[in-house]
C-alpha cells in the first residue's frame, strides 16, 4: 500500500512534467501542424541557463523567472529566423530542421557546460509531508507549480483578446488575417510560450534526474506519448495525458516490467495510440478548444 502511494505520488510528479512538455508540443502543433522534436533540448538548454544564473549568485525564483523570459525570447527568435523562412518548405525539410536544432542545442550545452552531470537545486524544502518518505515537498511543489502555470495559461487563452487572437490564428489563419490578426506573430508568440513552458518543465525535473545535456531525451518521449494520449491538438487533453502517462509509467515500471524498461512503455503507448485510437482519448470531443 505504501509503495503504491509512493508510486502514485512520483507518477503525478513526472506526470506534471510530461504535461508541460506535451503542452509545449501541442501549442506548436495546433498552430503549425509541426512536431517540435527540439522541444526537449530547448528545455534542457534553458535549464542550464537557470543553473548558470544560480551559480552566479542569482536567487532561485529570480533565476526561474529570468530563464522563462530568456526561453520565451529564444523560442520567438527561432520561429522568426529559422522557421518563418521555411514556411513553404516541405515537411521533410522541417523535420530535418528540428533534428538539427535538437543536436545543436545538445552539443552547445555540452561545449559550454560540459557533459558531466550537475546537481540542480529545488526551491522547495527538503524532506516530506508524511515523514515516512511517501510524498516529498519537491513533488508537491512540482505539481503545484504546474497546476498554477496551467491555470494562468487557461486564463490567458480564455479571457484575454491576445489569447483569443492566438486561438483564432491557430484555427483559421486566413480568416484571422481578415480580422486584422498578425498571424505570423501569433505563431512566434506560441513558440515563445512553448519554450517558456518547456523551461519550467526542465527546471522542475532537473533536481530529480540531475542536469546533463541528455536529461530531456526520455522525457520528450513521454511528453510525446502524453500529447498523443490526450489527442494531439488538444491542450487540455495533453495535460490529462501527461498525468495519465506519468502514473501508468510508474505503476507499470514498479509492478510489471521493472524500471529499466519503463521508457519502452512510452513507446508502447505511442504505437498503441497511433494504431488503436489515432485521435487520442480526448481528440474528438474538444478538438477545437484551447
Amino acid at each position: 500500500m505504501e509503495l503504491l502511494l509512493q508510486q502514485i505520488a512520483s507518477g503525478l510528479t513526472s506526470g506534471a512534467i510530461y504535461a508541460c512538455v506535451a503542452l509545449g508540443l501541442v501549442m506548436i502543433y495546433v498552430s503549425t501542424d509541426h512536431i517540435n522534436f527540439a522541444q526537449g533540448e530547448m528545455a534542457m538548454f534553458s535549464t542550464y541557463i537557470a543553473w548558470a544564473l544560480i551559480q552566479a549568485g542569482v536567487s532561485y525564483w529570480v533565476a526561474f523567472g529570468a530563464t522563462m523570459v530568456i526561453a520565451f525570447a529564444g523560442g520567438l527568435l527561432i520561429q522568426r529566423f529559422i522557421l518563418k523562412p521555411l514556411e513553404h518548405a516541405p515537411v521533410l525539410a522541417l523535420v530535418v530542421c528540428f533534428i538539427a536544432l535538437l543536436s545543436i542545442f545538445n552539443s552547445m550545452a555540452g561545449v559550454i557546460w560540459s557533459f558531466t552531470v550537475k546537481q540542480f537545486p529545488s526551491p522547495f524544502p527538503k524532506g516530506d509531508l508524511t515523514g515516512a518518505g511517501l510524498v516529498s515537498y519537491h513533488q508537491i511543489g512540482v505539481v503545484g507549480v504546474t497546476v498554477v502555470m496551467l491555470g494562468l495559461l487557461t486564463c490567458f487563452f480564455r479571457f484575454t483578446t491576445l489569447g483569443l487572437a492566438m486561438r483564432a490564428a491557430a484555427q483559421n489563419a486566413s480568416s484571422a488575417r481578415l480580422m486584422g490578426v498578425r498571424v505570423s506573430w501569433m505563431l512566434a508568440l506560441g513558440w515563445g510560450m512553448a519554450a517558456a513552458i518547456g523551461a519550467v518543465a526542465g527546471m522542475l525535473v532537473a533536481p530529480i534526474v540531475f542536469l546533463d545535456p541528455n536529461m530531456m531525451t526520455g522525457i520528450l518521449t513521454y511528453g510525446f506519448a502524453a500529447a498523443l494520449v490526450g489527442g494531439i491538438g488538444n491542450p487540455g487533453g495533453a495535460v490529462i495525458g501527461g498525468f495519465v502517462v506519468g502514473v501508468l509509467e510508474n505503476l507499470v515500471g514498479t509492478y510489471i516490467i521493472g524500471n529499466e524498461l519503463k521508457l519502452s512503455f512510452a513507446l508502447v503507448i505511442i504505437v498503441g495510440v497511433l494504431l488503436l485510437k489515432p485521435a487520442g482519448l480526448f481528440g474528438r470531443v474538444n478538438v477545437k478548444r484551447v
Binding site: 483569443l164 484555427q171 480568416s175 480580422m179 486584422g180
Partner: protein, 237 residues
C-alpha cells in the same frame, strides 16, 4: 465624387495561372458597387487581390493611399472588412468570441462595445446564441456572423463575397435589407459580389461586369437593369 477604393491595372495569379487581367474599377465613397459575372469570372479573385491574399500586380488605393503592398492584416486595420467566400467562421470559437476577436485590433474599446450592441440590434438572432459554438450555427446564421465580424472592425469599406450563397430566399431578403441599412446608417461603402444579379442591382448604385478576368462593361445599375441584351448575355435573366 471621391473614390474610397480605386484599382488600376489589377492582375492576379494562382501559381502560373492568371486569373485577372489588368482590371480597373472604382468604388464611390458611401456607395455600393456590385461585381457580377459567371462562375470563374474572377470575382472572388478581385476581392482577394484588393486584400493582398493572392499574388497580384497593379495598384489599389484606399482613400488615395496606396495599399498595393500592404499585408492583408494591415489593409484590414485601415478599414477594409472582407466577408469572404465560405464565410470564414471560426467554428471552434463561440459566437461571442468570433465577434470579440475584433477587440484585438480596436484601440477604442468603447466604440467597439457600441459596435457589438449595434451588431446585436441588426442580428438579434446572434445575441440569443452568443455562447453557442459558431460551427453549430446554420448557414444563414453563419453568414450573419460573418457580416457581423466585419462590422465589428468598424470598417469604412466592406467587401462582400456572395452573401446570399446557400440561403433561403427569406433570409436573403433579410440580409440585403440589413446591408442596405448598414450602408445608409453606418456610412459603410460596399463592394458586393453576387450570383443573384437582380438583387445585387437593386442594392448597388454601380456595377461592373466581369468575364474571364476582364471587365466587359460597367456603369450605373439602372443602365444594366434597363439593357435587356446585356442582361441576357451576361446575367442570364
Amino acid at each position: 465624387m471621391t473614390a474610397i477604393l480605386e484599382a488600376t491595372g489589377l492582375s492576379a495569379y494562382y501559381g502560373p495561372v492568371r486569373a485577372l487581367y489588368e482590371v480597373d474599377f472604382r468604388i464611390e465613397t458611401g456607395g455600393v458597387t456590385a461585381l457580377l459575372g459567371a462562375n470563374g469570372a474572377g470575382k472572388t479573385t478581385t476581392l482577394r487581390a484588393v486584400c493582398n491574399m493572392v499574388r497580384r500586380s497593379g495598384t489599389t488605393k484606399l482613400n488615395g493611399q496606396d495599399i498595393s503592398r500592404l499585408a492583408t492584416e494591415d489593409i484590414v486595420r485601415l478599414g477594409v472588412a472582407h466577408v469572404p467566400e465560405g464565410r470564414g467562421t471560426f467554428t471552434g470559437l463561440t459566437v461571442e468570441e468570433n465577434l470579440k476577436l475584433a477587440f484585438h485590433v480596436r484601440r477604442d474599446r468603447a466604440a467597439a462595445n457600441r459596435d457589438l450592441d449595434l451588431v446585436f440590434t441588426y442580428f438579434p438572432r446572434l445575441k440569443e446564441r452568443v455562447r453557442q459554438q459558431a460551427g453549430t450555427l446554420s448557414g444563414g446564421e453563419q453568414q450573419m456572423l460573418a457580416i457581423s465580424r466585419a462590422l465589428m472592425l468598424g470598417p469604412k469599406l466592406m467587401l462582400l463575397d456572395e452573401p446570399s450563397f446557400g440561403l433561403a430566399p427569406l433570409v436573403v431578403q433579410e440580409i440585403f435589407r440589413i446591408l442596405r441599412s448598414i450602408n445608409e446608417n453606418e456610412h459603410v461603402s460596399m463592394l458586393i459580389v453576387e450570383q443573384n444579379a437582380a438583387l445585387a442591382l437593386e442594392l448597388a448604385d454601380h456595377v461592373y461586369l466581369l468575364e474571364t478576368g476582364r471587365v466587359v462593361t460597367s456603369g450605373p445599375s439602372a443602365m444594366v437593369q434597363n439593357d435587356e441584351a446585356l442582361r441576357r448575355a451576361y446575367l442570364g435573366y
